[in-house]
């Protein structure tokens, strides 16, 4: 089960980014194998369509859940149609490490 986290940096101390579509890095984490990968977000400077491009990227990595502090309204129907779960962590300064520890529950 791969889970993507929208991160503002590429270290374990990086915090959850304030947006999903234009975050700096996606961390793809698998709690079963504890494997993780930091992927620079190629869509962060797109004027339009950053959301759907980011969803496509994560879908191609077989991600089934996404943790972010905010998703755009257009993203929800798209993720629903792909059966990718959204986990919204609002107004938090949680680090990648803290989130991964929670995901290991």
């Amino acid at each position: 089960m791969k889970i993507a986290i929208a991160s503002n940096g590429n270290t374990l101390e990086s915090c959850i980014d304030s947006t999903f579509a234009r975050c700096n890095f996606f961390v793809v984490y698998d709690p079963e194998t504890r494997a993780m990968e930091f992927i620079p977000n190629p869509n962060k400077d797109l004027e339009e369509g950053a959301g759907s491009a980011s969803v496509k990227l994560l879908e191609s990595r077989s991600v089934q859940k996404i943790v972010a502090s905010e998703f755009g309204m257009k993203i929800k129907p798209l993720l629903d149609s792909l059966k990718i779960q959204m986990i919204v962590v609002k107004g938090s300064k949680k680090t990648m490490k803290e989130i991964m520890v929670m995901l290991n529950h």
Partner: protein, 192 residues
């Protein structure tokens, strides 16, 4: 004035993309498929699979009853045409949005949705606690509201209230008096 396009709510996309006819003649027939729209699929599903009446089904899809009846009639006509003429059915397109239910975790405070309606949500996908409550509209929630929630489902149309059943999202309940979709009492969009 341009007509406002209303989006129809479809709970989950269909499992398959369509149907193909088979039999000795099927290869010789016109390959152009009949296009069944998502909302037509949903109308058929609600009416003849979930066995809702047209009023309840129209509420579930967020359309008026005459609109529902029109969508439903169109679905039947298309399927009949595909059967009789031996055409493929492609299920795609339409003015729809896919809708999933939202939950809040009482342990870590995160909000999450359930994209797979068939599966019952039992625990928080983030922290794993089993203390979760279902609600709509995560974006409009604020801390104040969350603390005052009661475990009551209310009908936004006529005000009928009933006790919330754990594990069943309020908006899966249909008001027994007026068949409107229920909401959790105290959530935004519910004025009672």
């Amino acid at each position: 004035m341009p007509r406002v396009k209303t989006l129809r709510k479809v709970l989950n996309p269909p499992l398959i993309k369509g149907f193909k006819p088979y039999g000795p003649e099927s290869g010789n027939l016109n390959q152009e498929p009949v296009n069944l729209l998502f909302e037509e699929y949903e109308a058929l599903r609600l009416s003849d699979y979930d066995m809702l009446n047209h009023h309840q089904a129209s509420v579930m899809m967020g359309v008026s009853r005459p609109t529902f009846t029109r969508i439903y009639a169109s679905a039947l006509q298309k399927i009949a045409r595909a059967f009789v003429e031996g055409k493929q059915i492609a299920i795609e397109g339409g003015k729809v949005y896919f809708d999933s239910d939202w939950y809040q975790c009482a342990g870590c405070g995160c909000n999450f949705n359930n994209p797979e309606r068939e599966k019952v949500i039992e625990s928080c996908p983030l922290c794993g606690t089993r203390q979760i409550i279902s609600h709509d509209f995560p974006d409009e929630t604020n801390e104040e509201n969350a603390k005052h929630w009661e475990y009551v489902c209310v009908c936004p149309q006529c005000g009928f209230e009933q006790e919330h059943q754990l594990g069943i999202p309020c908006n899966h309940q249909v008001c027994p008096k007026c068949t409107h979709k229920m909401k959790r009492k105290g959530t935004p969009g519910c004025k009672i």
